[in-house]
């Protein structure tokens, strides 16, 4: 492990701490105020941020750690999310030179497109598991409002993450604005 790898640990630790706080809000506080049917997928937003902003060979490991911490709050497990996250990060890697975040509306649009791709990938797994489109269909109606809210709040979350990761010089971050 070289120095740049070690320098990833601090911002990653802070990112995971932020994820834990957001997951607690999502899994505990939202249901207490009556919102138990809709949850914002903070783990996906963090994976998308890392995929777009980080040029590190250890990206897959970082995605795995985000999904592992997410699995502490969800029975979804780490595997499906990691698989989709790594595949999506590969697709993003091909396009991220073309897509550059310069304005909030574009961030919202790109995040919405990525969330839709994530939904399609995860629906495929559900379909293969249940051999039925029933659960996929019911998930779709929950996905629409959830993804809209998630993409709307994504610029704010990305700004917070930008502050966390900006301190790391080795992380090769590019500016959000």
């Amino acid at each position: 492990m070289n120095l740049s790898t070690l320098k990833l640990l601090r911002p990653m630790g802070l990112t995971l701490a932020l994820l834990v706080v957001l997951e607690v809000i999502s899994a505990t506080i939202f249901p207490l105020v009556g919102i138990e049917n809709y949850q914002i997928p903070f783990n996906i937003l963090i994976v998308l941020y890392l995929s777009f902003k980080l040029d590190s060979p250890y990206l897959a490991l970082l995605i795995l750690s985000v999904q592992y911490f997410h699995s502490l709050f969800s029975i979804e497990g780490w595997a499906i999310g990691t698989l989709i996250g790594v595949l999506l990060s590969r697709i993003i890697y091909l396009f991220k030179e073309i897509i550059d975040f310069f304005a909030f509306p574009l961030v919202i649009l790109v995040v919405q497109a990525c969330l839709l791709s994530w939904f399609i990938f995860s629906s495929l797994f559900i379909y293969f598991q249940n051999h039925s489109f029933g659960p996929v269909w019911s998930r779709f109606w929950v996905f629409i409002p959830e993804s809209l809210i998630a993409s709307l709040i994504s610029p704010v979350l990305f700004l917070i993450l930008e502050r966390i990761w900006k301190q790391n010089e080795e992380a090769s971050l590019r500016g959000l604005n």
């Binding site: 505990t28 709050f73 990691t82 019911s138």
Partner: protein
């Protein structure tokens, strides 16, 4: 002439490393996906440690919320009567449940009289638990409770309230457990309609409803019929209330009916649940293990 700088070499090395790690983690994830069953999860000690610590945070948040809402309801809003009302409502619900159980017993008794031998009733031990959190992904309908392995809870123990069935224990740590509710599509419950004794399989549907599948088109089910656990499947005890039929669709071309059920339990306002522990569960598990063991042709047993 092409000159390879140190930067180029470093980028090439990073590129190779990234591909290698991506392939390794994709392989690991595929293995993880293949092992995910959706039925129950045995967790590692490390994961158990993390879940316990996260659940403690969730429990603290829930406790603060309960304290604050309790303070408001009992003191600030001066609703002393609400306390009494709440306990009376609970008592009424318990009595209703008892009456319902008696009615079921009468029906059961009549059926049993027709049989030559009676089944031995299972002894169950209830463990009261408080809900400390929900699943952080809306695609899974899971509750986290503040009792675990050290309190006597075991994997796949049934979870109920006085109003009806909640689900079963999906994964557990020493002090906390996750309950896969009947609202989740991964939770399949073998059920019967109380009035007509029609059989079907329940699974979570949309908008907090449950779907009853594989009920033949000729079964005489009607709206508002009560649906109970059948006791088959070695997971839930027999005769636990699940909900009432709220929608029936019969198509002439279809062999089965589309039946939707509204659960008896109000999952939106759930605060406490009861975990049912069967002391002779191990014996039953061994019976299932024996039945599931592949038959060896030519063996003495």
């Amino acid at each position: 002439m092409v000159t390879l700088t140190f930067m180029d070499f470093s980028n090439f090395k990073n590129h190779r490393l990234r591909w290698g790690l991506d392939i390794l983690i994709l392989g690991l994830s595929l293995y993880g996906v293949s092992r995910w069953s959706g039925k129950s999860e045995h967790i590692s000690p490390a994961k158990s440690f993390f879940i316990t610590n996260m659940a403690i945070i969730q429990q603290s948040v829930t406790s603060v919320n309960h304290e604050l809402s309790g303070l408001y309801n009992n003191y600030l809003a001066n609703i002393e009567a609400s306390k009494e009302n709440k306990s009376l409502l609970n008592k009424v619900a318990q009595l209703e449940n008892q009456i319902f159980e008696f009615e079921e017993l009468v029906k059961e008794n009549k059926r049993l009289k027709k049989l030559l031998q009676f089944g031995k009733k299972q002894v169950k031990r209830p463990i009261l638990s408080q809900i400390v959190g929900w699943n952080s992904s809306s695609h899974f309908k899971v509750l986290r409770i503040n009792k675990g392995f050290k309190d006597g809870i075991r994997l796949q123990s049934s979870v109920v309230t006085s109003k009806g069935l909640v689900g079963y224990i999906y994964r557990l740590t020493d002090h906390f457990a996750d309950v896969l509710t009947i609202l989740d599509a991964n939770n399949k419950v073998d059920a019967i309609v109380a009035r007509s004794r029609s059989h079907g399989i329940l699974e979570g549907y949309e908008q907090g409803k449950i779907l009853m599948k594989y009920v033949s088109n000729i079964e005489p089910v009607i709206l508002n019929d009560m649906v109970l656990t059948s006791g088959l499947g070695n997971l839930y005890p027999k005769g636990v209330r699940i909900g009432r039929i709220s929608k029936i669709e019969r198509e002439s071309y279809s062999v089965t009916q589309h039946i939707e059920i509204t659960p008896s339990v109000d999952f939106g306002n759930l605060e406490e649940v009861i975990v049912l522990i069967f002391p002779d569960r191990n014996k039953k598990d061994k019976e299932w293990e024996t039945l599931n063991r592949p038959l060896q042709i030519g063996s003495k047993n």
